[in-house]
Every structure is written in structure tokens, then in C-alpha cells.
């Protein structure tokens, strides 16, 4: 078993910290994934759905007005234009198709704000697989439109009343369901988190983002960008755009949510900056950086951007941060809001609050010169889902 072991980790991070019941399912999933990952038929079918259903490739847009405003050449990777309004569908189409190939009759998933849940519902309807999504009871109230979107597409949304009734608890509950129904059910994790093979598999499915950027930026600039900036919750949009550049001379910036302040108490963090401030731990099946107290109890994280509000982070990001290949950084709630307004006003694009964290970092980092001359920012999603939140901030 030590052979499989080596490939489950990124340095010391990653692994498979799950109940014994699930181990065979993870091994089965790994086998199927290995088998289809480079399979021509599988990839042709996936490409078809990415193109005609999801609307890929998403554009790489030179934001002229914002570039002028911020004083650096800014390209926006337009994941906001992907069906459903975020990069999340890249992953659910990949996993959905794999689940179909595996003969799974049922898909379960967790969701925080509802973006991943919506993407699951879309994939579920598209592939005709019955889908159930766990969502913190608090989140089902805060994001009732997304609940409704999922229901419209035939997905059952199950409110989770345990713990803090948010994303972390939804993951816990989805894992419990998986433990009970592992033989018929595929658990569709929504980011580069969880036990192996999820972090690798989700990264690969999301790498379509970075692969497109490679071609697009060469066409537009004849060279790679100096830097790439992406917001980081679990880290899937970040790894998706970073991965194809890891071997290149391009600086990578993973922007976490600084929340309302970089402080923590014994039970909660006022932020979600796991790479920046978390400590090594084991959560949701993986070893990674975790927001935890001195005993190892997981903290409740927070952020104005529901999609970044997570106490863990993908193990590969923890590894890349450790070896200095990416720079972990953060933007505060207020900075993200400011950048949100900038992109709306200067470019006519309403970004997700998650993506606004990446934009905010560009705004403040320009002065230091660390971003170079040309930066690509991953606009991981559109902000329509955030309008109520932003309206609530108006004074």
C-alpha cells in the first residue's frame, strides 16, 4: 500500500484521512480517474460539454479602463461567463461524467453559498443523475435563490442543522451520507480539498482555465504574464489557473479572505486566511493548513464572500506555499468591496465577491512592483449572487 501512498500527497500534505468504509471507494475512484483521465473518448465527451454546455473557452479580456486606473496591464480570465456564473461547473461536469462512466446512480455534494451546489445541479440534470446537496441551514436561508435554482433543476437540497450550520457542517454531513451510501453514490467535492484523489482530480478538471490562458495570452502578448492572481477558498479556481503555469516563470498569488480582521478567538476566526495564518492539521480527509485553536478544534471562519469562507484549503496550495512557489496573501472585506465597485464602474463587469478579493490584491500590490507589467486575474464568478450582500453594505 505504500506505493499508492506516495501519489496521494503533495509533500507532506494531502492523503486520505477518512473512515475505513470510504477507503475502497476512494481507491475505486482513483482507479477510474486514472483510467479515464487521458482517455480519448472520455475527454472528447467532456470537451463537448465544456464547449457547448458550459460555454468554454471563457475569454481573456484586457481590462483597458481598469489597467489605466490601477497602472498595470490587467487581463481578466472570464470565468464569470461560464454557465451557472462561476468556474465551479468545470469540475462538476468532469466529475459528473466520471460518475456516469462509473455507473453511479446518485450524486451528493456539499455547498456553502450554493455555487457548487448549483453547478452540481446543472451537471446532474445534464447527465440525468439524481442529485442531492447538503447545505448549512443558515446558508439555505441566506442564499434562498440558489436553493431555488437547485430545486428547479431537480436537485434535492438538504438543510444541515448541526454545528455552525454552514459549509464545514455541510461537508461533514455529506461525508456521513457518503459513508452510508458509498456503493451507489458519488460524492462530488466542490474544490481541491478532501481526501485523495479529489485535490488532484478537481485541479485537473479546473486546469482547463489555465490551459486556455496559456494559449490566449500567447496570442495576445506573445509571452506569458508576469503574474497570476486568484482568490482562494478551497483553492480550485486558483489551482485551475495556476497549475499549467507552475513550471513556468510566472509569479502566482493566492488571495485569501482577510474578513473583518485578522484575529481569532478560541472558537472563531474573523477571516478565512488559512494559507496565511493556518497551522498544519487534518480536516475533511486531508492534511493541510487549517484554522484551528491550540487543541486542534476547527474554528468557524468568516468572510463577506461565502465561497471563501472555509477553515481549510487545498493541500497542493499548502505545499506550493511551503516551497515558495506561490505567495499566500489576503484582502479584507472592505478592500474586496472597493475592488468590486471598481470593476463594475470601470469595466461593466460585476464580479463575484470571491473574485473581488483577487482584484483588490492587484489594486494594493501594484505599488510594490511585485506583479510585474502584465497580470492575469481570475474572475472566478459573477457577482449577481452577491447583490443583496453588497446592497446591505450601502449606507
Amino acid at each position: 500500500m505504500s506505493q499508492a501512498l506516495t501519489s496521494t500527497k503533495f509533500g507532506k500534505y494531502g492523503g486520505q484521512y477518512v473512515p475505513e468504509i470510504l477507503m475502497p471507494a476512494l481507491l475505486e475512484l482513483t482507479d477510474y480517474y486514472e483510467k479515464y483521465k487521458d482517455d480519448a473518448v472520455f475527454n472528447a465527451e467532456l470537451d463537448h460539454y465544456l464547449k457547448d454546455f458550459a460555454g468554454r473557452p471563457s475569454p481573456l479580456y484586457l481590462a483597458k479602463n481598469l489597467s489605466k486606473e490601477y497602472g498595470i496591464k490587467i487581463y481578466l480570465k472570464r470565468e464569470d461567463l461560464v454557465h451557472g456564473g462561476a468556474h465551479k461547473l468545470n469540475n462538476t461536469l468532469g466529475q459528473g461524467l466520471l460518475a456516469k462512466y462509473m455507473g453511479k446512480k446518485r450524486i451528493i455534494a456539499e455547498t456553502g453559498a450554493g455555487q457548487h451546489g448549483t453547478a452540481c445541479a446543472m451537471a446532474g440534470a445534464c447527465f440525468g443523475v439524481s442529485t442531492e446537496v447538503y447545505m448549512g441551514a443558515k446558508d439555505t436561508v441566506r442564499q434562498r435563490m440558489n436553493v431555488y435554482r437547485m430545486e428547479l433543476m431537480g436537485t434535492k437540497v438538504i438543510p444541515v442543522k448541526s454545528g455552525s450550520q454552514t459549509l464545514k457542517d455541510a461537508i461533514n454531513e455529506a461525508m456521513r451520507d457518503w459513508v452510508a451510501n458509498v456503493e451507489t453514490t458519488h460524492y462530488m467535492i466542490g474544490s481541491v480539498v478532501g481526501p485523495h484523489p479529489f485535490p488532484t482530480m478537481v485541479r485537473d478538471f479546473q486546469s482547463v482555465i489555465g490551459k486556455e490562458v496559456r494559449l490566449q495570452i500567447l496570442e495576445k502578448e506573445g509571452r506569458f504574464p508576469d503574474s497570476i492572481v486568484a482568490c482562494t477558498g478551497g483553492g480550485s479556481n486558483a489551482m485551475g489557473i495556476f497549475h499549467p503555469f507552475v513550471e513556468e516563470d510566472v509569479d502566482l498569488f493566492a488571495v485569501e479572505a482577510g474578513g473583518s480582521g485578522m484575529k481569532t478567538t478560541d472558537k472563531e476566526a474573523l477571516h478565512s486566511a488559512t494559507l496565511c495564518t493556518g497551522e498544519d492539521g487534518v480536516l475533511h480527509g486531508m492534511r493541510t493548513k487549517v484554522l484551528q485553536n491550540k487543541y486542534g478544534q476547527i474554528l468557524e471562519s468568516s468572510s463577506i464572500a461565502a465561497g471563501l469562507d472555509y477553515a481549510g484549503v487545498g493541500p497542493e496550495l499548502a505545499y506550493l506555499a511551503d516551497i515558495g512557489r506561490l505567495k499566500p496573501c489576503y484582502s479584507m472585506d472592505s478592500e474586496a468591496l472597493d475592488a468590486f465597485h471598481d470593476l463594475c464602474r470601470f469595466e461593466g463587469i460585476i464580479p463575484a465577491l470571491e473574485s473581488s478579493h483577487a482584484l483588490a490584491y492587484v489594486k494594493k500590490a501594484v505599488a510594490s512592483g511585485e506583479l510585474g507589467d502584465i497580470v492575469v486575474v481570475n474572475v472566478s464568478g459573477r457577482g449577481d449572487k452577491d447583490l443583496e450582500t453588497v446592497m446591505g453594505m450601502r449606507t
Binding site: A4, Y17, E20, M23, S162, V179, V282, G296
Partner: protein, 259 residues
């Protein structure tokens, strides 16, 4: 007391083992001592004392609620070991917790604290053998048993490996799912008991709450049963807790010796 010794004693008496789980600190640190004593009075053979973790993915609603009460009551790993040290039991004590608490404390320190406070076994439901190499070595060095779980989904190759490594007893997960009391015995349970061929004692957990179920399981070839949610339910009710814990323990114990 080491776990193996306990099973040997029981074997000699031709009795199955009753292993009782409750969560330390549920609902208060003081309560735990009283409840453990009650369980022992009821005839429990081994105590499995949960160290509460904020995100218990292997547990169902009943035990989750117990864990939440314990955390709200102020239970921490430090306090856990102090509490355990003061118990002075004459039966084996096992800690059941999730890996992050062990990891955060430091594997070495955690196991030494176990040994020092009289804990003879460790169960970590989110630590499959693939990830348990380090902990296993430290446990062996400190003569603490690292108890492995096998499940109905466990394949033959994995089973062999687990049976080779496991110490104390093998924890057979009776059914797919999380902890929680059930009224039946899954058909998969009997099959699993048959599949697990080992000299190490076999104890079956997940879903057992009555003496009848316990009897069936011992009859099917297990060496013991593990009962958790049924006890935690009683604690959760807050009504005549010690009396009812003792009574239930006695009933189930009757099941495991009826063969």
C-alpha cells in the same frame, strides 16, 4: 489493564465483551466520572471514552449532540487526560477521537499522555491504515493498542493488512453509515464477522442498542459488542442518567453472556 488481558479473562468465562462508548465531558467533566462508574456497575467490560472533536464526520446525530454538549461544557484534551487519570478503573479504557486532535497535540505526546493516564487503546475513525504508520510505531513503543476498523466495504487485500497491524481488538463496523442506535442487525454484519479471520478479538459496533442484538452478534462469532449511541441517548435525556446507564449496560451484558 491491557485490552488483550480483558478478552482473555472473558474468553475463559465464555463471555462476550461489552464495550461502552460515552463522550468525556458530556454534559460536564464531573458527570463523566459518575457515568463511567455507573457503566462499570452495570457490567461493562471496556470503556471507550470519546475525546470530543469539533467535526466528527463518522458520528451520527446522537453522538454529535453528545460531543457538542461536551465541547460546550468545556472539555479539552488537557482536561480529558486529567479526568481520565482520576478515574482509577480496573477495566481497560480506550480513547476514541479524531486524528486532528492527536496530530495537533503531537503524536508522541498524545500517546505518552494516554499511557500515563491509564489508557490502553486508541480508536481514530478517520485514520485508515494508509495514514497511520507514524502513530502505530509510537503506540507500539508505548504499549498502547492502536485499534483498527474494518467495514463491509473493506477489500480482501486491505483486510489482510489491517488484521496484520491491528492490536487490542478489531473494530468491525456493522453497517455502512455513521454511529447511531438501530433496532435490527444488518445481514452484512454476520458476513463481515465471518470474513474477519484473525486471532485478535473482534468487536462489532455501529447500531447496537439492545441485549437481543448483542446476543445475535456474539452468536455470529464476535468476541464483543460496542454500544455508544444508546448510552449517549440516555445522557442526552438528562433523566435518571446513572440508573438508566447501569440498567442498559446490565441488559446488554446479559445478551453477551447468554451464549
Amino acid at each position: 489493564m491491557r485490552i488483550a488481558e480483558k478478552f482473555k479473562q472473558l474468553k475463559a468465562k465464555n463471555e462476550g465483551a461489552l464495550i461502552a462508548y460515552i463522550c468525556a465531558g458530556d454534559p460536564t467533566p464531573e458527570g463523566t466520572k459518575e457515568y463511567v462508574t455507573a457503566l462499570v456497575r452495570g457490567g461493562v467490560d471496556i470503556i471507550e471514552l470519546g475525546l470530543p472533536f469539533s467535526d466528527p464526520v463518522a458520528d451520527g446525530p446522537t453522538i454529535q449532540a453528545g460531543i457538542q454538549r461536551a465541547l460546550d461544557g468545556g472539555m479539552t484534551p488537557d482536561l480529558y487526560f486529567r479526568t481520565v487519570s482520576s478515574l482509577k478503573l480496573h477495566i481497560p479504557l480506550i480513547v476514541m477521537t479524531y486524528y486532528n486532535l492527536i496530530f495537533k497535540r503531537g503524536l508522541e505526546k498524545f500517546v505518552k499522555d494516554c499511557a500515563a493516564s491509564g489508557i490502553s487503546g486508541i480508536i481514530v475513525p478517520d485514520l485508515p491504515p494508509e495514514e497511520s504508520g507514524d502513530l502505530l510505531q509510537i503506540c507500539r513503543k508505548n504499549e498502547v493498542d492502536l485499534i483498527y476498523l474494518v467495514a463491509p466495504t473493506t477489500t480482501e487485500t486491505r483486510m489482510e493488512h489491517i488484521l496484520a497491524e491491528g492490536a487490542g481488538f478489531i473494530y468491525l463496523v456493522a453497517r455502512l453509515g455513521v454511529t447511531g442506535a438501530r433496532s435490527d442487525v444488518a445481514t452484512s454484519t454476520g458476513e463481515l464477522i465471518k470474513r474477519v479471520k484473525t486471532a485478535t478479538p473482534k468487536a462489532v459496533g455501529f447500531g447496537i442498542s439492545t441485549g437481543d442484538q448483542a446476543a445475535q452478534i456474539i452468536h455470529a462469532g464476535a468476541d464483543g459488542v460496542i454500544v455508544g449511541s444508546a448510552f449517549v441517548n440516555i445522557i442526552g435525556s438528562g433523566q435518571d442518567v446513572p440508573e438508566r446507564l447501569e440498567a442498559l449496560a446490565r441488559e446488554i451484558k446479559k445478551g453477551v453472556i447468554s451464549n
